[in-house]
């Protein structure tokens, strides 16, 4: 019996491989999960857009649940998610800070003037250093940070209503309690 079974081994191995390939079809090879989720958000100080001389320190946000949305005026996909951010801003349910990544102040302000400003404040990251600390690799990216300053969720790519409703809102409700 075992003699015959060994001839089934190639088939068995193949079927295991097929299982993984089938699973692989539904994974996104381009989404790299951030190792920072569950870790304290990197601390930084940076100037604020349109508020000359003022700077922002990330510790200011302690005690609040907030979204950090990385964007730039040169980023096409950011324009895609912009209307959704505007909708979110209208509800006033969540504090959203923008991180203007590798951009010029003038162009950033121009875009916000044209498309509306969904952000409570916009932090500027001209040389992209904060971006590196947060592991930004494809703008737009969105981080959900809790009251203790721990990153709880990260989304890479434009936000969609589905992601918002399925992932961010439930987590937000839980964290805000």
């Amino acid at each position: 019996m075992s003699k015959k079974l060994k001839f089934l081994l190639p088939l068995f191995l193949f079927l295991v491989a097929v299982g993984f390939l089938a699973k692989g079809l539904f994974l996104n090879p381009h989404e790299v999960p951030s190792p920072l989720v569950g870790k304290p958000a990197p601390v930084f100080t940076a100037p604020l857009l349109g508020e000359a001389g003022k700077s922002f320190h990330s510790d200011e946000m302690k005690g609040q649940v907030w979204l950090l949305n990385v964007w730039a005026s040169w980023c096409v996909a950011c324009r895609e998610e912009h209307p959704l951010l505007m909708e979110m801003a209208k509800t006033k349910k969540i504090i959203t800070y923008g991180l203007d990544y590798k951009d010029t102040d003038a162009e950033a302000q121009q875009m916000l003037a044209a498309m509306g400003n969904p952000y409570d404040k916009v932090i500027t990251d001209i040389d992209g250093k904060i971006g590196i600390d947060y592991g930004v690799y494809g703008v737009p990216e969105t981080y959900l940070i809790d009251k203790l300053g721990v990153i709880r969720y990260k989304h890479t790519g434009p936000l969609t209503p589905e992601i918002l409703l399925a992932k961010i809102v439930p987590l937000l409700n839980e964290l805000q309690q």
Binding site: P10, A17, V18, A22, L25
Partner: protein, 657 residues
Amino acid sequence: MIPAIGELSLILAFLFAIIQGTLPLVGVWRNKKTLINLAVPAARAQSGLIALAFFILGYSFYVNDFSVLYVASTSNSQLPTIYRLAAVWGGHEGSMLLWVSILAVWTIAVTMFAKNLPDSFRVRLIAVMGLVSVGFLAFILFTSNPFDRLIPAALDGRDLNPLLQDPGMVFHPPVLYMGYVGFSVAFAFAIAALLDGSLDNAWARWTRPWTTVAWAFLTLGIAFGSKWAYYELGWGGWWFWDAVENASFMPWLVGTALIHSLAVTEKRGAFKVWTVLLSICAFSLSLLGTFLVRSGVLTSVHAFATDPSRGIFILLYLVIVIGGALLLFALRAPNVGLGEKFDVVSRESFLLANNVVLAAAAGSVLLGTMYPLLIDALGGGKISVGPPYFDAVFVAIMAPGIFLMGLGPLAKWKKTSLPEIGTRLKLAAVISVVSALLVPSIMGKISLMVAVGVFMGAWVLSTTLILLQNRINSRQVASVSLINNLKGIPLAFYGMLLAHFGIGVFILGVTLVKGYETEQDVRMEINDVAKVDDLAFVFKGAKEIKGPNYLSSQGTFVVTSGNKTIGILHPEKRFYPVQGSTMTEADIQPGVFKDLYVSLGEPLEQGAWSVRIYIKPFVQWIWAGCIIMALGGLLALCDRRYRVVEKNIVKGKKRKK
């Protein structure tokens, strides 16, 4: 109108493939001559119709018919004609059509050249190839139709990716696919033999030439691709262990193993189960490669989750074809006999040891390629497996195989004596050790990696030459002239020598370029001189030129050695307006001992440029080695015994009946 004919002929080809894949099998089963006789005409009709579809798609590209969606998305009216034709396989739909077209070529070849097989076997063989074709045609028709129309037609096309606008695009895919798809013949032989219950020496003898041709094409195809990457991507790399490359390399490794185990099976009728499994695996890995490349599981530009239908289709196809083959294997293999006896130390056992090494090597490439997917699917996050892994693991696994390569061919069939082989190889060992010590000191930098690499390369080359000498000596008698002696040695033997020799050349090339390549990143103003070793590269400035469908900054570099000018290089930075992309076109002066490789970086202030200058010693040996290997394969194919013996065997069989 014309594209509609193309689509129609694909549909008809699909129907003929169904006939080819089913009715003759029923015919063999029920012993119905009329159904059996359908096999060849159906196969030829199917192949002819696919060829027609292929030519029609080519014609649509030629006349810029932008009412064909595929043409509109991969071509452009400004694209030079030769690339418009190469664009036929420049995208997904067309490369799938190329795949079945090449399968059609192999099918025709089988109907023409595999004449001397027993009828039932030949019919099964053709039917299996028909079944392979059915799946692919269905895939094309249902998910990837190259003849889908665009109404209204586009004014112009979106152009072929500039990266693909290269002579490499003309040759690399067809040759590579000839290899990939060529293993379908060995696969069909294996399935037919399993169905037929005729897994024997004759089966191995019939399979051998087909496997060898496919292998030679695959070798060439991979080499072309590597060469293309070398000059096109602008930084002089020639192999990246990228998933797409690995997808072509795994069938090559298994195909190489198959060639060797077929030798044992043909001689001794032994290890048939293993050989038939390898036949199935070589083609399965070709199909798996197609899946990996085409489904986007590993490297797609677009996330596949949005439209997994193509991936699911190919996966289903894999399950049916490979799963079916392996199931048949599991059912039939237990009844296969052992074959003739041979000793634990013999030519046979060396050939099989080579198989273990090649299988483990293929396993490492498969594991490395699939591992990120494996970890991700198990929820372990994302990891990358790249060149550092493959360089370490693959090379370590292959090293003992390379060593065995020197011993194996000297071993006698059935039973051999190790000490005797050892005596014969003393000289080779001395040559290899001396080279390993000498070459690094000549090249000026000593490293263990280079010493080991040179040792292995020299070992393969010297043992191959000793093998030839041995063969001559063993046949030399006073009455025979050396020429006649050489003539008397079968071509298959020369083919083996040549292929092994190619491996040696290849190893030396890889070792020396890895060990001694140099790179300089410099900023050059006009008339600036960059010095590399004893060479001086003088930058004579860059001028704007206009290509057929691009604008280019073309630099001029004069290379001098002492007071002598040894070359003028014109690297370019091209801008392709249709896709808005910039391409770095390096210029290379190839040489036997080193390539001079210059590529333009970015324009800097005052007409200065950032420039990369590479010296790539012995890099051409890499591809020369591959070409020698492939020639070895083709030479072995010309051996007359394949033709003569094939006939004899058939006669023998008929007589038995």
